[in-house]
Structure formats: C-alpha cells, structure tokens
C-alpha cells in the first residue's frame, strides 16, 4: 500500500539500502492493507531481510562514506526564530482535509498550491539553537522537510490516479480502471515525477 519500492529480497533501488515493514512496498497488500497483516508482514519479512542482508554483505563488504549533504550553517541564526510547529499543524490539517479519505481534483489542486506556500515559508525559517548535540529542534525541523516532500509525492500520485481503487477514493472518478497499475514516484534533479507501472 505504497512505500519504498523493494524487490522480494527487500533490496531497494539504492545499492546496500534495504527497507522492510510499513515503510516498504513489497507488493503483498495491493491497494488496501487488511488490518493485522502489517504485523504478519514485519514478522515474516523482518526475518527475510535479516537473511538477505547477511547474504549481501558476504558478497559485498560494507563500506559507508559519510557525507554532509545539507549545509546546516545557513539554518542557524541568533535571536528570535519562529519554529516550524505551526507549519506542521497546517500541513496536517490540509493533508487530512484534501488528501484524506475523499479526494477530488479541485481539492488536490488547491492542496498543491498550499504545499508550495508552506514550502516557501519553511525554506525561510531559521533555528536559534546551534548546539550540535541532541538538538531536537534541528532534527524535527529537518524531518519536517522530508514530510513536505512526501506530502508532495502523495498529492501528485493522487492526482495522477484518475480512478478509485482500495484506499484511494476519488469522488470525481468513482469507478475502477480495468488494469490495476502500480504508480511510481521518482525524485531526481528536476523534481518529483509520477508514472504508472507500464509507462517508461
């Protein structure tokens, strides 16, 4: 039911990165996960991923290089800094109202615009606590950036899927298309792209 795309050995498209559990999409649930199956999934695939990882590192020795991808110094500023918490509440409400149980084109397009506004505000925020040890404000701030990215992916996928299937319900497209296609979201330098399984 959505998640990081992995193969049957829980290996993602990034070499050496495995994903298991609710965050992963090992394609056992279809369009709507049945209650209780999440626990079964993690028990079974948790064991499987342990085995596949131990096999992987026997063939390829582990070598992790740590790189700093974000320049954090621009985030810090002394004095009054407004934290992102109100933005997080706004994001939650907007996503629940417009990308929740009932979705339609109008609501989703409005949501896309709100997300752009939220993102603009977010990129201008600063943090006054520049302590690099146990800085929860910084960690939550950065995680919120990830939430925004995921929100954009959710909205784009919802707009792209012009049908109702499983947990995805469009009040403007209540029927199901004939073919059941997976949708894939990719992030590259140009941004987020959504495509269906058969498309390139």
């Amino acid at each position: 039911m959505g998640g990081i795309d992995v193969d049957e050995n829980l290996h993602s498209s990034i070499q050496g990165l495995f994903a298991v559990g609710e965050c992963s999409n090992v394609k056992v649930h279809g369009a709507n996960r049945m209650g209780g199956n999440s626990l079964l999934e993690i028990v079974h695939f948790g064991r499987r991923v342990g085995k596949s990882i131990s096999q992987y590192i026997q063939e390829k020795p582990l070598h992790v290089k740590q790189q700093e991808s974000t320049n954090l110094s621009s985030l810090f500023c002394q004095g009054e800094c407004e934290p992102f918490f109100t933005l997080r509440k706004t994001l939650g409400k907007e996503m629940f109202d417009k990308a929740g149980i009932f979705r339609d084109e109008e609501g989703l397009c409005e949501l896309e615009k709100s997300l752009e506004v939220i993102e603009k505000t977010y990129s201008s925020l600063t943090i006054s606590d520049d302590n690099m040890s146990h800085n929860m404000w910084l960690v939550e701030h950065l995680k919120f950036g990830n939430s925004l990215l995921l929100a954009k992916a959710v909205v784009k996928s919802a707009l792209h899927r012009k049908e109702s299937r499983g947990a995805h319900y469009r009040s403007d497209f209540v029927g199901r298309n004939e073919k059941a296609l997976h949708s894939y979201v990719c992030l590259d330098e140009k941004g987020l792209h959504v495509s269906f399984g058969d498309e390139s």
Binding site: C81, F85, I127, N131, S133, H134, M136, W137
Partner: protein, 228 residues
C-alpha cells in the same frame, strides 16, 4: 498551571494533559530548545521515562498537576535537559548473556508462558535503575532489569542449560541487592524485580552457591556498632 522542569518554571494550560503533552507544549510555544525523549506516546516503549516529584514515571502516561517538578532519571549519566545516556545499561545485559543457550524442542503451554510472561514485558526503560539505591555505592551492580531478564531465561522451560545464567549473576548480582523494593514501585510495566531476585537466590542455592556476605558475629560487632 505552573510546572518546574529542572527548576525552571513554566506556565501551561490546565486541560488534563500528560507530562509529555506539557513538554511538547513548552517546546512548541515557550522554549524550542528543550530536549526530552519519547517515541510511541502510548506507554509501551519506555523511551519517555523520567522523574516527576522524585518518582519514576512514564511521561506519556502520567497526568500532570499544578506545581509538579519534572527531572531526568537519576543514577544515569546526564546528557542534556531531560535526556540521559542509557547505552551503558545495554552493556550490562551483555554480561548476563540473555538469550537461549541450549534450545530444547519443548512446546510451551499456558502454564509455562505464565512463568515468564511478566518478566518478558520489560522494555528497558531504566526506571528501576534510576530507583535502585545500590547504584549509589556500587557502580558495577548488575541492576534490577538485568537480573529480571536473567530470571526470565532461568524460568524458561525451553532452556536446557541454566547453569551459565546462574554463574553470571553471582558476582555484583543477586547477593548485592538490599531488597528495598524501590524497583518494583518504579516499574511502569508492573514487573517485580525484587521477587525475581529472591527467586534467583533460591535457584542459586539449588545449584550450590550461597550468600557470600559473612554472617554477623561478635568479631565484626554484628555488622554495626551503636557506640561509635
């Protein structure tokens, strides 16, 4: 209402909040640099353990009241605000080798599960460690949760070879407990480490060990001298 976090006073709304909700309110509205731990917010993971009015509680369960004093766990290395370092405690568990050593093919029935059900509930929140007075004088005491976990494996009917567990807990272990019971009061899962330690003492004697503390006698003035 007023609450005190490590001596600093904060005003929070009076609407039946838990300690964790109060801390989140403080972080979002008053002091964004406040550091505290939490994860499940449901009283299951144990990450949010701290002291309210000198008693260990889970901050996501305990309802805050006017004038409450919130402090980090005691007898831990203090890191920042309400965060403490819990890593050294995991290393203690390694000393007791808490995993099945020789696994038999026995199937566990209801009564066997009941023997170890409570002790298996331990989530390593370290509340018992914070409450244990032995740690003030003996830094390498194994501690309540390690001994409870040892008991959980000693009482497990699938374990064929219990002698290793018994051997590991003799030194700095069961015989150093004062039996004060503070750990049982502090445990949010309702586990009684004191009872487990007593059971382990009986078990150790069955394996031939005994209390190494010398019994009181005339030579050492029965352990205390009232005329000092």
């Amino acid at each position: 209402m007023r609450v005190f976090v490590q001596g600093v006073e904060y005003q929070i709304p009076d609407n039946n909040m838990t300690v964790l909700n109060a801390l989140i309110y403080i972080r979002e509205n008053i002091n964004p640099t406040l550091a505290f731990g939490y994860n499940c917010k449901s009283g299951v993971c144990g990450s949010c353990a701290l002291r309210v009015n000198n008693q260990e509680r889970l901050s996501c369960e305990y309802k805050i009241e006017d004038g409450d004093k919130i402090e980090p766990l005691g007898r831990h290395h203090h890191v920042k605000d309400l965060l403490v370092d819990k890593k050294p405690l995991r290393q203690i568990l390694q000393k007791v080798h808490t995993w099945l050593h020789v696994r038999s093919e026995k199937v566990m029935d209801e009564s066997s599960i009941e023997l170890i059900e409570k002790q298996s509930d331990c989530v390593l929140c370290s509340s018992c460690f914070s409450a244990c007075p032995v740690l003030d004088v003996k830094f390498d005491f194994l501690g309540p949760f390690a001994l409870t976990r040892a008991y959980r494996y000693v009482a497990d009917v699938r374990e064929e070879d219990k002698s290793d567990f018994i051997e590991d807990i003799q030194m700095n272990g069961i015989w150093d407990c004062t039996l004060c019971g503070e750990c049982a009061i502090a445990c949010p899962a309702g586990i009684n480490p004191k009872a487990d330690i007593l059971a382990l003492r009986t078990k150790s004697m069955q394996y031939g060990y005994f209390d190494p503390t010398p019994p009181p006698s005339f030579d050492d003035e029965f352990g205390f001298n009232p005329n000092f």
